[in-house]
Structures are given as C-alpha cells and as structure tokens.
C-alpha cells in the first residue's frame, strides 16, 4: 500500500489523508468493531424497507413521515440529556417521570394558576434543573451510586406527579404556542428557509474550518470528503423538506396541512446546541475526559465533582424539555405522562444510536438517530402493521427488535475488545 506522508506543524510526519484513505479508515474502524451509528442507521433502513413494502400506501405517506417527528420528539429530547449522563458512565432512571413532573408543573401553572405561556415553560425548565442539581449532589458529593439515587427518584417523582394532579386527574393545556410545539407545522416558506439556511450554514462552517486549518499548514480532511458531507446533508434535508411540504390533509376542504413539523427544528436546534457544547467547548472536553479516565481528569486539574453534578443538571433540563414536548403532543398531562416505556425508550435511543453505557463514548446525534429507530418501531407498533395482532404479540415484537439492536452493539464491542 502506498501512502503519501506530509509534514504538519513543527515537522511531524503524518499520513496524508485522501478520500480513499478516509473510506479505508472508516471501514477499518467498522471492522475493528467501532461501529458508531452504523447499526442504527442500517436498522432504520431495514425496518423502513420491511414495513414500508408491506404497507407502502400508508407507511410511505407524507402524513406518516411528519408523524414520526412528533412521535420521536419527547423521547429524543430526554435521550439527548441522557447522553451527557451516559458519557460519565452514570445513569438516570428518573428522567421519564422527571419529564412528567415538569410537564405537570407547566400544565398546572397554565391552567389552574393562570400564568402566561413563557412563565409556565420557564418554570418547568427550572424545575428540571433543580431536580438535576439534587440528583447530581447526591451522586457526586454524598457518593450514592447513580443507579440507586435515580431509582429512588423514579419512585419519588411518580409520587410527586400523582400528588400534583390529584388522584387520576387529567389536565388539558389551553391552545397556544406550547401546544403547537409538537403538533403543528411550519409554513411552507419557513420550512424551505430553515432547510436551505441550515445547509448553507453547515457548508460555511465546514469550508471555514478547512481554510483555517490549511492556512496554518495543518492536516485537513480531503476536499472530496468535505463536499460529500455537505452534499449528503443537503440531500437529506431538502428531500425531507420536499416530502413534508406536500399536502397531507385527508380532506383539504376542511383544512390544509403541510410544512415541516415544528418539532423538527426544535430537535435540530438542541442537536446543534449540545453538539457544539460537547465538541467545541472546554466543558465538553472535560465531560469526555471524566468519562474516559476520571483519575487522569482529576490530576489535570478538572473539577470532577462539578462536572458530575452538571451532567445531571443538563440531563434533567432536557428531561423537562422532553416533558414539555410530550404534554404538547398529547395536549394534556396525566399520571402516566413520562411513565410507561418513555424512559426505557430514551435510554434505548441513546444506546441504539451508538452511545456506550460504560462512559466516554457518545455523541448527541446518537439520540436523534436512536430516537428515529424508536419512533419507527412505535409507529409500526401503534397499529400500522400490527393492528391485527394482540397487544401481547406486539410487546414481544418490540422486545425482539430492541434485543437485536442491543445484540449488534454487544457483538461489536466484543470484536473491538478482541482487536486491541
């Protein structure tokens, strides 16, 4: 194999990357067991193909596609927060009911107390951060394992939710933008503006980084790969926008329904925010360091305890955002909001997406990819394909799919351990 080397900063010789070497490296990592999001993406494709061909007229409809975003929003938000916690090798079992409590706080302030929408939303988010601070302090300062702390909180939050709502009560939230968040769609103009804007900004950031590094004589990714990335994102976003801006109302005489669901830019916004925090700030670097080797981080002068507390604050904050999305989708809050399979779906989304349960490895995008897999399973489960089967069969089916996803991850890890 011929490789060209080039000198980088200070004259260290490194292998000059080319498009071919990039692909070879990626393939090498995959064969070595570092699969990242690959199983999730492949799984998504397989699921869509199998169930799409079985019920193509309903599955491949624009209405169903839009529905996926709304279905995924709540779980994806919770999963994004969990990624920070999982990066430290900790777990938060209380995120589901934490979301429920925050949603209930918002609903009660909106209805019974008559507060405005921004105030109620802010109160829900602050509630989440307070809960996260308490959890984080118990884990980092008192030293109780996070599994136990959050298991206790799981039970306690369930109780808080029941108490807030009174026995079995169901509070509907009034119409307004909070209710639109996970229900309505953007106008067609805004849909296109946002999609094209996102592609342009992504392209600008990529090209600026390329030029900045090249100007300093540092190794850059080959231009081909950069263009491929930009083209890939453009294809994905523009195709999705084109589908979503189709008319999907059943009877257009009553109301027109088209445009990108508002949930999509909300998910995208948080994805960009947290990806930036993890990848481009000192704080994010320190989160990875503590997750990779807490002792090394401590010796490097990183305040390990404060990092540990902060990830629980972010986790519960995102759980609160998830709670808002869940309440917005249902239009109401009840004692089971955030309960049932929400938490496990969120942890599942993060892990299926490629984040390690053992800490140190993971990206925010994993929550989105995993969330999409979970949403497709949920949509299938909700009767598109399995409507003729009993709920017993449906639960078993969902279980098997999750097991397959987790199995791929475990086999990959064993392979990567063997190749060390």
């Amino acid at each position: 194999m011929t490789t060209t080397t080039l000198e980088t900063a200070g004259g260290v010789k490194v292998v000059k990357p080319t498009v071919a070497s990039h692909i070879r490296d990626y393939w090498g990592r995959v064969r070595g067991g570092d699969l990242g999001s690959l199983p999730a993406v492949l799984g998504l494709v397989v699921l869509v193909l199998i169930f799409g061909t079985a019920r193509s007229e309903t599955f491949f409809s624009a209405g169903n596609f839009a529905n996926l975003f709304n279905q995924a929003a709540g779980v994806t938000m919770i999963a994004m927060g969990l990624i920070f916690i999982l990066l430290l090798g900790e777990i938060d079992l209380s995120a589901g009911f934490g979301a429920g409590v925050c949603g209930a706080v918002m609903a009660i302030l909106l209805t019974e107390k008559g507060y405005s929408q921004p105030v109620s939303l802010a109160a829900a988010l602050v509630t989440g951060m307070v809960m996260g601070t308490v959890l984080g302090l118990l884990v980092a300062k008192v030293g109780i394992p996070s599994f136990v702390v959050t298991l206790a909180a799981f039970l306690a939050f369930q109780g808080v939710l029941l108490n807030l709502l009174g026995e079995g009560k169901n509070i509907s939230i009034p119409d307004g933008w909070i209710k639109s968040l996970n229900k309505d769609s953007l106008s067609v103009t805004w849909s296109w503006t946002l999609a094209i804007g996102a592609v342009l900004i992504f392209a600008a950031v990529q090209l600026m980084r390329y030029r900045g590094r090249a100007a300093r004589g540092l190794v850059t990714d080959p231009m081909g790969i950069i263009l491929l990335r930009i083209a890939g994102l453009a294809a994905l976003l523009l195709t999705a926008t084109a589908i979503l801006t189709q008319e999907r109302a059943i009877n257009t005489a009553i109301a027109s329904l088209k445009g990108v669901p508002i949930a999509a830019p909300v998910i995208g916004g948080f994805l960009v925010l947290w990806t930036f925090v993890l990848g481009r700030t000192t704080y994010g670097r320190h989160v990875y360091a503590v997750g990779g080797n807490a002792e090394a981080a401590r010796r490097a002068g990183i305040p390990v305890d404060r990092i540990r507390i902060s990830v629980f604050v972010i986790g519960s904050f995102m759980a609160a955002v998830g709670g808002v999305m869940l309440v917005s989708r249902a239009g109401s809050v009840d004692p089971n909001t955030g309960g049932s399979t929400i938490l496990l779906s969120a942890v599942g989304a993060a892990v299926i997406g490629g984040t390690s349960l053992f800490g140190g490895k993971g990206k925010v995008i994993h929550a989105v990819i995993g969330g999409a897999v979970i949403a497709v399973i949920a949509v299938i489960d909700n009767g598109m394909f399995l409507m003729d089967f009993s709920s017993g069969i449906r639960y078993m089916f969902t279980g098997v799919i999750l097991l397959i996803a987790a199995g791929v991850d475990a086999l990959a890890r064993r392979r990567s351990a063997a190749s060390r």
Binding site: V12, V14, L218, N293, G360
Partner: protein
C-alpha cells in the same frame, strides 16, 4: 556543565503516623542532566516524588528551586514552578486523541470556543522538538497507540508547558525492548534540551544507559548521590540492597540501629 542545581532538596523528613518514611533526604537535580533515583521496593522513591510534586506535604526540610526557597503545597504549585511528573499509569484518557490529551485541563480557547488549530500546532511542535517524527495522525485516539507511543505522549504532555524539571516514574516498566530504547532516547533528549530529568527505575541497564548521576535511596535514607561514571553496576546494586558499598553510602550500622525497626520504639 552547570554547577548549581535546579532543584535541591535538603533534610526532607516525612512520616505517615508512627512510620517515618523519609529521613533527612538530600537530592540535587541539575539542568541538562538525568538523575536516576534508584532504590528497592519501599525505599521511599514514590513518597519522595509525591513530596516534590506537592501531593504529600513534607514534615520538615527545605526545597530550593532555581536558587529560591519554595514551598509546594499542591500539584498546581509544582506545575507553576515548572515541575511535572509523568506517573507510571500515565494518566491519559483513552477516548481522547493525542492533542486533546496533551492539553487536558489547560485547553487553549478563543472566546468560549476551543482553539483546536493552535493546540494542534503546539502539540506538533512539541512532539517535533522531542524528535518524534512519525505518528499516523495527531488526531489519533490514545487508545490506538502502542505502549511506547503512549509514554511519549505522556512525556510530551509534561514538557509542553516549558517545564524545567520532569520526573519520570518507571517509564520503561511495561515496555518491550525496542520501545524501551525509544523512550530512553527520549529521556536523554529531554536532558539535552536543558531540562532537569529525574528517572525512577529498577532496571540497572536503563539507569546506566542514560543517567549522569545516580541517587540511591535505602530504607528512606539517601545512601549516596554519585556520578554514574564513577560507579559500577555492582556498586549501585550494593547501595540499593545494603545502603553502602565500600566507602560509599551510609555509615555502617550500629547495633542500636536495629531497634528502630520496631514501630513506635524510642528513637
């Protein structure tokens, strides 16, 4: 060769409860020289290093750095003076790449954003100054490096900060023959760049291969600090195992010395 030591310890005492681990230890580290710190297990090498690096407070004694008397209370004080320790377990994060590890805890920033190009450039220059000429990529994860390369990254991390004294705790303990040679070459180069290097090692071949001076600890006492060219292999082994060799080392033991072995006995 510079006559004044860069780091000078004198009369260092350290006890853990009733057990006195260091007795009146003296040590001088000269710039541009490798000082090997040798001693048997439990002789107090690690304790001495932790006292220098500020992890343990010393009970009594003076530390002179660059001609000024200093007091080191925390690892941070030590690194501000320019003393860096490379521990045996390296303290690297496997899930981060070479540049990220080298700047861990002291990242360069532009506004709130990490300044990756600057860090990569500095890391590259530091590696080059240590004559590390080939890595696949500066952005390679540390997990994918060999033992010798990991040691190199840990050492490069220590010298990145214009440090003046670098203490290496058994840098070759876990390495193969070729990698050991590489790391020893690197140790020599650090000294040639003008740093004061302290090399802790059990391996006499390593010690004689690179060091200018040898300091032998015996049961918490500095048995001798001699030039490597003035002693033989066998003499150093005697210093390590018996505390003395010919007219080098500690005075012959008097019968009263044996009383001390019982913890808590009157001195």
């Amino acid at each position: 060769m510079a006559a004044t030591p860069l780091l000078e310890l004198s009369g260092i005492n350290k006890s853990f409860g009733p057990v006195q681990v260091l007795h009146d230890v003296e040590l001088s580290v000269y710039p541009g020289e490798v000082t090997a710190l040798v001693g048997d297990n439990g002789a107090g090498k690690s304790t001495l290093v932790k006292c220098i690096s500020g992890i343990y407070p010393i009970d009594s004694g003076t530390v002179t750095f660059d001609g000024k008397q200093v007091s080191v209370h925390s690892p941070r004080d030590a690194s501000e003076l320019g003393i860096e320790v490379v521990y045996q377990d390296l303290a690297l994060c496997d899930n981060l790449d070479i540049v990220q590890n080298m700047f861990l805890g002291r990242e360069k920033k532009r506004g709130i954003v990490l300044d990756e190009p600057t860090m990569e450039q500095l890391a590259g220059e530091t590696l080059a100054s240590l004559s590390v000429k080939t890595v696949k990529s500066l952005r390679q994860l540390v997990a994918s490096l060999s033992g010798g390369q990991r040691q190199t990254v840990a050492i490069a991390k220590a010298v990145l900060w214009n440090s003046k004294v670098v203490i290496l705790d058994e840098p070759t303990a876990a390495l193969g023959v070729a990698q050991t040679a590489q790391v020893l070459e690197l140790v020599r180069r650090l000294a040639d760049n003008g740093l004061g290097v302290v090399l802790i090692s059990h391996n006499m071949n390593d010690v004689f291969a690179v060091s200018d001076r040898i300091a032998a600890l015996y049961l918490g006492r500095m048995a001798a600090q001699v030039k490597a060219s003035d002693v033989t292999h066998a003499q150093v082994v005697e210093l390590i195992t018996g505390g003395r060799s010919g007219n080098l080392g500690l005075p012959p033991e008097k019968p009263t010395d044996f009383v001390e072995i019982t913890p808590g006995a009157a001195q």
